[in-house]
Symmetry: C2
Amino acid sequence: MAPRWKGRGCEAKALVDPMSMIIHQLQRSLSESNSCGLLSGHSVLLEVTAEQIQVLNRSCFGRPVITAEKNTLWFQLGLEEAFYLCHSLNCLTVKDSNDGPVSPPELWNYAVSVKPEFPILYKAYSHLRAKNWVVRPGSQYGVDFVAYRHHPALVHSEYAVLALLHGDDESSESNGRLRVWSDILCTVRLCGSVAKTLLVIYINRNGHDPSSPGCLDGYTVQERTIRRWNPEQCREGEGQPLPQPRPQLSAENAST
Amino acid sequence: MAPRWKGRGCEAKALVDPMSMIIHQLQRSLSESNSCGLLSGHSVLLEVTAEQIQVLNRSCFGRPVITAEKNTLWFQLGLEEAFYLCHSLNCLTVKDSNDGPVSPPELWNYAVSVKPEFPILYKAYSHLRAKNWVVRPGSQYGVDFVAYRHHPALVHSEYAVLALLHGDDESSESNGRLRVWSDILCTVRLCGSVAKTLLVIYINRNGHDPSSPGCLDGYTVQERTIRRWNPEQCREGEGQPLPQPRPQLSAENAST
């Protein structure tokens, strides 16, 4: 499925302003100001300057929080976003409500304690972000994330993303998705109706214990897209070459 | 959600021709002709007369099979449908490919061997059929069944039905649906987009072993509908009474 740009010129705008550069600007801006977020429940709150709001918005990290304070502007980062800025981009520090510093390993342990599936979700999130996809929450479509080729103002999200365990761990976890046909049919139909491709990020823990962020290096990732196969589209057309039949569950690489 | 009749007069037509009467006619027609189906894979094939085709179509059991034989007409029944006609309506016998008779307990064991989830699916199927809902396969919508108030020619299906284990058994089965929020969100969104309500038939086996159809009497059934709660619809309107807030997962009775 081709990317669905939101209007004329959007693709050109995206080309001259690549997401990798925007992320680089965000990294520099947060580093230079020694940004420090406040850990609060399932999110990290960040007091921001007007310039930082712009670059956070452009890179699609977090969302602005409306408060009663007139001169202070806050951004709310999800745990995956905060940990990506702390650990992968190394441009954010975090403190707890007593103003005590929270190191990346401490933030990791906190995230795992409030959200046991955090290691798997984070591995999928960071895997896509590292490839310069814009990754946002996917609960609206009943998936873990949605992935955009560039800013959501320019393009519709292309992938509905599920992060699932694979390999030896698979059978030990009873709560995953896509274990019965009805779930696969349901998810693929919903994705089709909102013009997205279902992208499953299978994560193999290779026996690594998720007790510290170091486990992430031991995790391996497989990307699979799952689509409905339409026999109508595979019929011999007039003057057209005969398309190759494709399996119903097609495994394709989803990298940029 | 109100039933969506397919045109003017459809509701009146359904009222004067209740499904209970149609099922009664089917039962009489099959009994009088000593109908005997042929067990074949995941279905039962039934040689039918023109009159029986009509009443099978009106009651929505099975589907016609196109064959090369000119003077013979066949209907293909799913395992739930065949067992319902054999066991609940007692108007069909079944034989195997060697012309040997297959008793209802033998048919039960065969169905469980080729489809381990058969006891749960059949309990849900028979529960809805006994209440005169028309029950058809739901794979198109990623669910186990869809349920119609009357014939699909007159009315759209109202419920997308999932049959799930409940009670003590629940944790022992790792393959069910609706165990994670993303699956619930996905299923509810898809049902909403096709104007159906998600009906979950929770079945508690109460420790009964599914080794014979006798276990069905020991199974208990709970019906739950799951819908998205829309806060917009709960706002105070002009001149309207303030609607009561409803929980996001509402439990309602889905009987006729």
